[in-house]
């Protein structure tokens, strides 16, 4: 079994895993961070989105060994010292979540989106959110949250 090492939320981690282990399984089952979720088996729903070297990826479609040596951020690594990241705060303020299951992936995708595109309008946010499925909110408040969060992030 290969030993896979990486940095997760600023901490060096290492685990012996089967070569076929997915990054999401590594994060959930080996590192014990269960905030990253598995909502489908076809890489469609986006509940598993994390950042690898600053870019959002679907961790259900990435092998753990592909992230060897990488700098990984999960939803648990976003808030600092108990204070919500501006995007998390915007989701709370705008009721951008209901059951909370898609939320970690939504927030991670939203942060990456806001980092990469400025002056986000509604149509762009909706288009860019194509890889994340939510069944609760009808997206109305998610779109509002991302607009607000992006502006809180200075975008």
């Amino acid at each position: 079994m290969p030993t896979v090492s990486m940095t997760v939320n600023g901490k060096a981690v290492s685990a012996d895993v089967e070569a076929r282990t997915l990054l999401v399984q590594y994060i959930r089952d080996h590192i014990g961070l269960t905030g990253t979720h598995i909502g489908c088996d076809t890489s469609q729903c986006g509940a598993c989105v994390v950042h690898v070297n600053g870019k959002s990826v679907k961790s259900c479609t990435t092998l753990a060994v592909q992230a060897e040596g990488a700098d990984v951020t999960t939803i648990e690594g976003l808030a600092t010292g108990g204070e919500l990241h501006p995007m998390q705060a915007a989701f709370k303020e705008n009721h951008g979540l209901q059951c909370g299951f898609c939320t970690p992936g939504m927030v991670m995708s939203a942060v990456d989106l806001a980092n990469n595109m400025k002056n986000l309008d509604e149509a762009t946010i909706r288009e860019q959110l194509d890889g994340n499925i939510c069944r609760c909110t009808g997206y109305h408040n998610i779109v509002k949250s991302i607009k607000d969060g992006a502006s809180r992030m200075g975008g």
Binding site: R20, T34, L84, K92, C99, E122, R126, E127, G138
Partner: protein, 774 residues
Amino acid sequence: MRRKEDYRFLTGNGNYTDDISVFGQTYASFVRSPHAHAKINGINTSAAAAAEGVVAVLTGEELAADGVGPLICGWNIAGKNGVEAHNSPVHHALAIGKVNYVGDHVAVVIAETQAQAQAGAEMVEVDYEELPAVVGTGSAWNNATQIHEEAPANLCYDWEIGDAAATDAAFAAAAHVTTIDIVNNRLIPNAMEPRACLAEFNQGTGDWTLHVTSQNPHVHRLVMSAFNGVAPEHKLRVIAPDVGGGFGSKIFIYAEEVVCTWATRKVGRPIKWTAQRSESFLCDAHGRDHVSKAELALDADGKFLGLRVNTKANLGAYLSTFASAVPTYMYATLLAGTYTTPAIYCDVQGVFTNTAPVDAYRGAGRPEATYLLERVVETAAREMNIDPADLRRRNYIQTDAFPYQTPVVHQYDIGDYGASLDKACDMADVAGFAARRSESEANGKRRGLGYSSYIEACGIAPSAAVGALGGGVGLWESADIRFNATGSVTVMTGTHNHGQGHETAFAQVVSDKLGIPIENVEVVEGDTDKGPFGMGTYGSRSIAVGGSAIIKAADKIIDKGKKIAAHCLEAAEDDIEYDGGNFTVAGTDKVMNIAEIAFAAYVPHNYPEGVEPGLHEQAFYDPLNFSFPAGVHICEVEVDPTTGETEIVRYTAVDDFGTIINPMIVEGQVHGGIGQGVGQAMLEAANYDENGQLVTGSYMDYTMPRADNLPSFDVGTTSTPSPLNPLGVKGAGEAGAIASPPAVINAITDACGGAMIDMPATQEKVWQACQAAE
């Protein structure tokens, strides 16, 4: 008020069933039928049992040998002509001798790792003998193939409601009759959290603990002990931790949790099972799936005289937990809608097919009723050349007519349907629609406007009434308010949040009523060992029934507080007044706040004689009636006739939910419901091929609404508080999913020249309709 529960969800600290692991746990993988209908001539488990990491391979024979009872349906539907019981085929949690749908449970493999369990499941050899499959909803009844011995002609029931003779007479006197054939498309609920369970048996105490994705953990415990017999009720603890959406699909008691709870004792290890999404598609109870004919009789002025409906309802291969009630008492009792139609008759044939069981999905029967009614009304308006809003207005039940008895069971308590219509027309700028349509047409586009005037019955219901209609359970709710000595409060109720914000809304109710800061109120649900027995969350019942139980318990707290205050303040109990957490002696400045009362109750040194120490009260509330949220949704679409591409350019919702506790949460519920309803109207369909294979079994094939399929919504309210519960609330969870499909289809058909288009109105169907119109 922002939500108390959000911090944990936003920081990855939610605690869903699959997030929980225990020492020594094994993993279950189910062997599922690849055939829609087949005999099982034999199951060879030896290769799987010998595979690496496999702990056990168990089949239906072993389940039955241990006396585990079949899965049940909790609602009996009596049929036409004095038939007392519906046909209820035996539903083994693991199939014995025969499989009846693709995904049906054949065996379970338990192994050290998930991968080993899956590999083991693939090594179980099942000798199937394929049989012809029955798939179509409209063709199941009297099909040449009979699926179950217990269900001749594949019929579960042939049921009726209303007065057939009076309805026939209304049609005989009609100036105009509108007839439509209408399909309510089959849907797959798709809560984002797949179902899961973790079952453990403690050898020392003889107790079971089951973590499960459930909307109603007490109901799970009751059914699993009383009917499946896997554990005695007092030895089984059912915990539903954070639940990632349900929409009905997590009400039901499924094979997987029954099997894992039975097997954990048998193998002596904890067992975890988590559905893969492809399993959710195959085996979560599906929703809707009606084929109907509707006829509306009108007089020359457009007054509705009678409504006649026949519906074939697909129940799937077996009866799921509440399946039988959905196309009957949850459906046909809503066919009066918001109108004064004096004569209604509906008959329903519930049929079995070789497809996944069908049960309640957001709205459960009421979306089917609303879609049928609002489509036939819209069609009648077009045929008679009457403005559709005007036609509805002419037929509304007027505000002075309440309580209003419909011809189909329900007595509506209160409402003002005209007010919702007026407000919706105003918000949607219906007056400016003609100009917008002209502008679209000038650009080569078509534009349409669609109305939906809906009513729903929520907060199910007086237990005795449910019992009289065949229901097997009581539908009250419980609440337990426990003051701590320091003045903070723990509130427990038998409802269970799965996204609706109970931790916030119920805390607001308690904070307002008892005058305690909201941060000092903790709401606890979802654990049969913590909270009192309760019936769970579905049918938009939690605030109307659970909230009322909380108010009742709070009243008991206040009553006891008055006795304590009277003693401590040296006054007569009748002179104590209560307001906002303060107990005051009338006409004086002598006061004790509720935290002081709580302290006195737990440290009863100066305390009234004969009063028990402690401040902890429980209440059970059985509703007096359903509640009846109603409203008007208006959808406006623009269609490109050259491509069939349809855009919702404006969506307006005006809902009357009575009193609203938290407007932000209620609006969120409406948004989400509309999202699902637009999904049904334009995108979603569970399709089986003629062999009973599910061809929409993943997110690659089943079109879930995504952010760019939906617009933002304009949401408003009107309010006629319910006189029948202490909060005046009605429930808001399902309205959006009930109201929106007909609003969307009425708009699309309006844009496309009025011809019938079945849901989902895909680009191709819309293009065809536009071609026909031009």
